[in-house]
Symmetry: C2
Subunit: 352 residues, 2 copies
Amino acid sequence: MTFHHKKGKTTVSDTERAPPIRTAPVKITDVAAAAGVAPMTVSRVINTPDRVSPETTARVRAAIERLGYVPNLIAGGLSSRKSRMVAAIVPTIAHPMFAGLVQSFSASMRQAGYQVMLSISGYDQTDDEALFHALLGRRPDALLITGSAYTPGALQMLIEARIPVVEVWDVSSRPIDMVIGFDHAHVGREVADFLLGKGYERFASLSARDSRALTRARGFTERVAAVGKPLVLEQTTCAPSTAGAGRDGMRALRPLLDQPCGLFCSSDLMAFGVVTEARVQGVALPAQLGVVGFGNFEFSEVNEPPITTVSPEGSGTGRSAATLLLRRLAGERASDNDRMQVPFRIVERATT
Amino acid sequence: MTFHHKKGKTTVSDTERAPPIRTAPVKITDVAAAAGVAPMTVSRVINTPDRVSPETTARVRAAIERLGYVPNLIAGGLSSRKSRMVAAIVPTIAHPMFAGLVQSFSASMRQAGYQVMLSISGYDQTDDEALFHALLGRRPDALLITGSAYTPGALQMLIEARIPVVEVWDVSSRPIDMVIGFDHAHVGREVADFLLGKGYERFASLSARDSRALTRARGFTERVAAVGKPLVLEQTTCAPSTAGAGRDGMRALRPLLDQPCGLFCSSDLMAFGVVTEARVQGVALPAQLGVVGFGNFEFSEVNEPPITTVSPEGSGTGRSAATLLLRRLAGERASDNDRMQVPFRIVERATT
DNA sequence: CTGAAAGCGCTAACAC
DNA sequence: GTGTTAGCGCTTTCAG
């Protein structure tokens, strides 16, 4: 039980002033009075315990415990000009990549004493200025943003906020501050090497016609060309990738499969269509056809057969973003280390 | 361009005091001075515009615009004792139900001017007191929590915080304040009715042995019994549900399928195993067997055939939670309307 | 409709 | 080690 009625100056009677039951929330002066010390000493016990004598610390701790004191970080933040909150803006959390990003980023930040304010922006950038206004008004100590299509006014606000910013995933040509980018071309090259390592001698690419998917496809085909292997099919379809497009692609590919072929699809959804149609057509996976998708969607693992895919590591990215920001928050200056890549890995399953 | 050097009392020279480049952040007094009004008037223009004359408003607005003023909501919150932030605690955002919940909850709250502080707790309740401490220290105006396994100390903190709390999804017997629960038994009954409506005359249930799944299964079997139809198989396996358990269940069910049968699985993962094994065994869906899962996982839609399932509506829940909290924040007292149910729907696809 | 004074609860900076 | 003073940037309250 924690009853306590230490109201400073009671000009009118308590019962007249205060709402019936509600006891006033405990504040630092209450604790200080209970422990017989100055408020500042209580503050020190909480924030810099090594600067207080053990005896005093014990007395104060006891008072804190007894009163159930929860320091008001809003007040502390105003005074110290540090909110110990960071804002994060993501387009969605429905995608595993972003879910992983948010999850690991908040875990890392919380461990360092920061709380994450999450904003889900959707993919349309309408009224990003209003969003930034609402966020920056809370004076976060740092900011994580994903994607880069922001209006000039919004960007100006970010710059004037003068806090560390890390941009993740989709990086503009002119970054604001720190950056964690994703090397789509590199993914394509790695997939080519992976399939080459599996012994495939002929290759094919199925890609949606969006710029990042095309960059991956180009990395793939260029690598294949570089090692002098034939590309039997290179097909692009309207974005976004769909399972239907994958089935169509498989039908186009079917007549060309007199020899084993390694196929890179621009997304797992497309790969799923390919695999499904392959079953219908009686194409043996991975003997006649090796299939690699992109995205590591949930169904790729559960599908029969499970689909080999490229998994951009959201959680690694979240940790890295936290690391970059925390470095800055610890006072480190901008440097060459402020650029990183989103890690990815090829998850090998039954289609290769 | 927004240069301005309106520092109140400059005892020493500006250049000596201020860090080289960094211009001081704009505050309300700067705007007031620029507009030739009192700070309070600027505050009114922002918060209660109808109480300020149009001319003054225009002057102040212009000054705000020109200086790029972003009000410090931390300071405002300290003064007004309203943070306009709400805290949300979820075990994960990897599950579509929780992702939908968070997404729609934050959208609804943001629309009302509240920012969400998200905490992902994981499923282990270790140090929830530390988590609550970090959260409540930021003085959120309200709280959304999911699940109910909190330590007594943590619950005590919640109660002493005296803010509206809504518990979602998994509801303790003794709720703290408002509640949005999920009626598992009702789901089971609805699934039974749905399959009855499809014309199945014999039924089966496959469930993991966790209490909520079992409640759903019981709702299902009791309904089937109530209408006098036979239950040909009722199998439970160790939690959690797996695709493997689904395949095993299908093998057990195979010899009993001389007549069409309606099957309810405790999760989509299990339903997926069933569907996969049915293909191997040459069982026709939905003619010989109707399959309903639970959870509406991504793969259920993409699978071939797509799986009929029960979808707990995260987004509806998030909106409802926001509605409940906003009602309270608007001053409404506790009432019978403080209890709601998580809505769900049966998503009909190819397996029924 | 506008302004002045007095804090909100805490901590930086400086005494002792 | 500990206390005192003076704000952090805003809003409440009350006076015009």
